[in-house]
């Protein structure tokens, strides 16, 4: 668990041992491997990049090459205890519909995303007058996959509008967990655990 990104480590730490999980946008399968190896979970993944899928399959993980925007419909209702979406919500064509799908296929959902309201982003926009390129958002506006920038408060609003219950939330800055006070200013990333 030590080598995981902080948001993934937070998710890994709070998934119930032995549960069933779907990791949407699983990348090279780092989180999946931890959930299978250390928590005895039954984990499946979806990843759009065939090179990453091959890497996952080569390490024995069950990963399907596919597009989270369209392919979640294949899974039955509540097929998983957890649907996990890390650093992917902001790339979705319709994040609201994706959140619906997460809460349909999973009894609970973990969602992590970069917080666009972090002070560094605000400063870059306020002072520079240009779309921020920061440590958390390192890619220029014209080539970033992040087509729906979102803040922590935006996400809370969306969850409320979708009738989702925020079970728990974690906030991170400088690679470390921080408290909830002023999180929408201070946090570079957030992780939410939701249910409905």
């Amino acid at each position: 668990m030590k080598n995981l990104r902080p948001d993934l480590a937070a998710i890994a730490a709070h998934v119930e041992p032995g549960s069933r999980a779907l990791d949407i946008g699983c990348g090279d399968g780092g989180l999946m491997a931890v959930l299978e190896g250390e928590k005895g979970c039954d984990v499946r993944g979806i990843e759009i990049d065939p090179v990453l899928v091959e890497r996952c399959v080569s390490r024995g993980l069950s990963v399907v090459q596919g597009d989270a925007n369209t392919d979640l419909t294949e899974y039955p209702d509540k097929a998983f205890d957890y649907a996990i979406l890390s650093q992917t919500l902001q790339t979705a064509i319709r994040p609201d519909r994706m959140l619906d799908e997460l809460l349909r296929v999973g009894r609970r959902a973990f969602v992590s995303f970069p917080n666009f309201a972090h002070w560094r982003t605000r400063k870059a926009l306020l002072m520079g007058g240009r779309m921020p390129v920061t440590r958390a958002l390192p890619v220029s506006w014209y080539e970033t996959d992040n087509i729906h920038h979102v803040t922590i408060e935006d996400f809370r609003d969306l969850a409320r509008a979708k009738g989702a219950v925020i079970e728990r939330a974690w906030h991170f800055a400088n690679g470390r967990a921080i408290g909830r006070i002023g999180a929408n200013w201070r946090a570079e990333f957030a992780v939410f655990e939701l249910s409905r």
């Binding site: 039954d42 499946r44 065939p50 899928v53 091959e54 996952c56 399959v57 080569s58 390490r59 024995g60 993980l61 069950s62 990963v63 399907v64 090459q65 596919g66 294949e74 899974y75 039955p76 097929a79």
Partner: protein, 380 residues
């Protein structure tokens, strides 16, 4: 330099040499067929590689394609060519015979030692067209009987490309306890109208050859080689991609500087197809081609399971891996996604990857490092 070259040669020889055993299994009982008929005293010819462990848990069954055979990693007795998947199966290869006991059997209906139309029927004469029509599930039923005979209750993995993938899926759907892992490459769960159309073209080419003689060419001096060659030529085109053909041949001429203004094989691609066609007649039986293409055309896994593909896999605890190639237009990626969708709906553990390769359907037989890694990772 000389020493290095000698070493290299030595290591090549070692790695290309795979210990194998050839055997034939006589089925103890008549084999019931989907048509309602039975096949009496059928035989299955098979090859094995690598040792079976004490608890018989390390067996990997490889299912071959339409014109394939059991010689997956051993020299073909007629052509003398190396095994058709020798780059995948052997010591240290992705399907490692140092660890796994690999079994590859000739399907029933074929012509390399298992019972088929060229085998002697009840009257003492070859079956020819009196051989019963078989299905993919019948082929697998015979393979399961072989596993019973070998005392293998549960395969570590069943692997197949193309028609071999159909057999792997059929085994998983109909005998779900018999395989822990199911690897399906460049395959489909049903033959499309286009697939059937190409097969019908091939069958008609055979049956239009006067030498076919209603299938009874064993009574004459001739064989329907012309018809079989045309069938193979047509089918071979479906195994390649336009891109692959263009890369390999383009519009280049064969052994000449100018067009002949005649109907010789002016173009390299023509010469290649003629070579493929005539070479095929040396090693394959025309009636077997009719029967096996029929079995593939009849294949529709959903139809066998109440019209819903997911039903075929309900309750399975096997792990699945499905691989397609982006230039395969015979069994395109959409067909693989279709089975992945059904497996997800059934809650099965499934992996799926579309690999990039320019050789079309045949890519699964050709060198492909990503495929090697996927196969090795999944079979482990």
């Amino acid at each position: 330099m000389a020493a290095k070259a000698a070493n290299l040669q030595f290591s090549t020889r070692v790695t290309s040499f795979v210990q194998h055993t050839s055997a034939t299994y006589q089925l103890p009982d008549a084999l019931p067929l989907d048509s309602g008929k039975v096949l009496e005293s059928a035989e299955i010819a098979y090859e094995t590689y690598g040792a079976l462990n004490a608890d018989r848990s390390n067996a990997v069954l490889i299912c071959h394609a339409l014109t394939g055979d059991q010689y997956v990693a051993s020299e073909h007795p007629i052509t003398g060519k190396p095994g058709w998947w020798e780059r995948m199966v052997g010591p240290g290869k992705p399907i490692d015979t140092d660890r796994f006991h690999v079994i590859c059997a000739n399907v029933i209906g074929s012509c390399m030692g298992s019972t088929g139309p060229a085998s002697t029927g009840p009257g003492g004469e070859p079956y020819a067209m009196r051989f019963p029509v078989i299905t993919i599930r019948d082929m697998v039923r015979a393979l399961v009987a072989l596993l019973d005979g070998l005392g293998i209750e549960r395969l570590h993995c069943v692997v197949g490309g193309s028609m071999g993938g159909m057999q792997a899926l059929s085994l998983a759907a109909n005998w779900p306890d018999r395989a822990a892992r199911v690897l399906v490459i460049a395959s489909t769960t049903r033959h499309s109208a286009q697939n059937i159309a190409f097969h019908e073209l091939g069958r008609q080419a055979i049956m239009a050859d006067p030498a076919w003689a209603g299938g009874d060419y064993h009574t004459t001096d001739a064989k329907p080689d012309n018809g079989l060659a045309v069938a193979r030529m047509a089918a071979h085109i479906t195994y390649l991609s336009e891109e692959g053909l263009t890369d390999k041949f383009g519009r280049r001429l064969q052994d000449r500087d100018a067009k002949s203004f005649g109907f010789e094989a002016d173009f390299q691609v023509e010469s290649y197809l003629r070579y493929q066609g005539s070479g095929f007649t040396q090693r394959f039986d025309a009636n077997s081609y009719l029967y096996i293409t029929r079995a593939m055309d009849y294949f529709d896994l959903a139809e066998e399971h109440g019209g819903k593909l997911a039903n075929a896999f309900t309750g399975t605890d096997a792990r699945f891996c499905v691989v397609s190639f982006d230039t395969d237009w015979l069994y395109p990626t959409a067909e693989s996604r279709h089975v992945v969708h059904a497996l997800n709906a059934a809650g099965a553990k499934v992996s799926f990857v579309e690999l990039s390769a320019n050789a079309g359907h045949d890519s699964f037989l050709l060198p492909h490092e990503q495929l090697d890694r996927v196969v090795r990772g999944f079979v482990e």
